[in-house]
């Protein structure tokens, strides 16, 4: 029966439209949060820049002393990896991008016989790695959406301790850098030992620092060695916090984009379905008219005979 098809289509259109309402709402919420997340990145910048500036000067003062805390180990035997993803999905490739990059990194280290310890931020990470049989040493759920500095401090403590004790030779960070509202990129950076010269690939505005900050003699209080030992965890903390902030901003941007696309698809689908439904209804009407006309004709003929 033709009317049945029309009803089925009508129901599907309604379902698509209610999904559209949800995706549209998520899009708007994500959009409003991007602004706040971006504001926090901006507010964090002076701290981060100041930290790098101090670190650079202290290191320049006595590079040999910095020894173990600097540079890239040639053949690390045990590497720690911190992966930063989101707590929630529906954000396009935001989570999967970082997770896949991390998985590749782990595989590469394992192939070279390097031991790997994995830490993750975001609820989406542990299940991904568990499914693939990769052990997660510790995960930090529930901080990805609105990271606080205390969270970064906790994470840094977990990451720095095995490095300082010598258990781990190198710590890498896999996260999404918020380059601009239009561009976010999954990057892997070395966190410990402190990579120097501190490069700025992420374009977060640190590149305008003078390369040799020190002019003339600088006093250090306490001595460089003590300062450096104190600076290492603090600098790691700052880097992790920056990564968390940029991750949050990237998450909302990715979600906004994904939900905008979903909304558009829903619109498109609703339009197509409406067209199909109208045709089905037209067909039904045409068939009905034909039946009536045919019936009337038959009646008239039988009466005339």
């Amino acid at each position: 029966m033709a009317g049945g098809q029309e009803r089925v289509l009508r129901r599907r259109i309604r379902s698509v439209q209610s999904t559209r309402k949800i995706t549209k709402a998520m899009e708007l919420i994500a959009a409003s949060r991007i602004v706040r997340a971006q504001g926090r990145i901006t507010a964090n910048r002076p701290y981060r820049m100041g930290m790098q500036k101090i670190l650079r000067q202290v290191v320049n003062e006595d590079p040999t002393l910095a020894g173990k805390l600097l540079g890239t180990p040639e053949e690390p035997s045990h590497v720690g990896i911190l992966a930063v993803v989101g707590d929630r999905g529906l954000a396009g490739s935001y989570n999967s991008g970082v997770l896949r990059a991390t998985e590749r990194l782990v595989a590469e280290h394992t192939r070279q016989g390097t031991q790997v310890t994995l830490w993750t931020v975001g609820k989406k990470a542990p299940s991904y790695f568990r499914y693939r049989g990769i052990e997660v040493e510790r995960s930090f759920p529930g901080v990805a959406d609105r990271p606080e500095f205390v969270n970064a401090r906790d994470i840094a403590a977990t990451v720095v301790a095995p490095f300082v004790s010598g258990e781990i030779d190198m710590v890498q960070l896999v996260s999404t850098r918020f380059i601009s509202a239009g561009t976010q990129r999954v990057t892997t950076v070395q966190m410990l030992p402190l990579p120097l010269p501190i490069e700025d690939e992420e374009g977060s505005g640190i590149d305008d620092l003078p390369t040799s900050g020190a002019t003339g003699y600088t006093e250090f209080e306490p001595d460089v060695e003590t300062l450096l030992a104190e600076l290492t965890p603090r600098a790691t903390e700052a880097e992790i916090f920056a990564a968390l902030l940029e991750g949050a901003a990237s998450f909302f941007t990715a979600q906004q984009r994904a939900m905008a696309a979903a909304t558009e698809n829903a619109d498109e689908l609703a339009r197509t379905l409406t067209r199909v439904m109208n045709r089905a209804r037209q067909d039904a009407i045409t068939t009905e008219i034909m039946e009536i006309v045919g019936g009337a004709e038959a009646l008239r003929q039988s009466k005339g005979a």
Partner: protein, 171 residues
């Protein structure tokens, strides 16, 4: 610009607490008390948890609680350029003091009742941990060593005490 004024910036990871001109900055490093005046030599140091006093260019005194961090006195040319006070950058200042702190707050923004509650809670926690020591090792079960929990409680107590000290002096 008046003589003896230099740029000061106090920043935390969340915000810039203060940025502007000052006549002096008083704080404590792990080595001892330190007063920075204009013309101070280049310095990099740590900042112990302490009360930081900034004698602002307009003569008013600004107090804040800084819970540990670092300090840089930068005398390189153009160091204080970009430092904004109100709506314009400070021209002609060559010295800039940057205080980096993980946690810091202005005296006027300290919530005294909350700090008092935090102080009591921390004292209580320390007492509990202290008495529970040796006899039972139940606290090991939540995966955290009692030592680190004790250290945490001590830090919380120190923070609360510093906040109260700074807030009460401001009145």
């Amino acid at each position: 610009m008046a003589d003896g004024v230099f740029g000061v910036e106090v920043v935390t990871p969340e915000q810039s607490l203060f940025a502007g001109g000052a006549n002096s900055v008083v704080l404590e490093t792990s080595v001892g008390a330190l007063t920075v005046l204009d013309g101070h030599m280049s310095l990099i140091g740590d900042v112990a948890p302490c009360l930081v006093k900034v004698d602002q260019a307009d003569g008013s005194l600004l107090r804040m609680a800084v819970h540990g961090g670092f300090l840089q006195v930068d005398t390189s040319p153009g160091a204080a350029e970009g430092l904004a006070e109100g709506d314009g950058p400070l021209p002609g200042l060559s010295t800039k003091v940057t205080v980096l702190a993980g946690v810091a707050e202005l005296a006027s923004e300290i919530d005294v009742p909350r700090s008092e509650r935090a102080k009591e809670a921390a004292t209580q926690r320390m007492a509990d941990l202290g008495s529970g020591r040796g006899s039972k090792t139940e606290s090991d079960e939540d995966g955290e060593a009692p030592d680190s929990m004790l250290a945490e409680a001590q830090q919380a107590l120190a923070r609360a005490e510093l906040r109260l000290e700074v807030a009460n002096q401001a009145d």
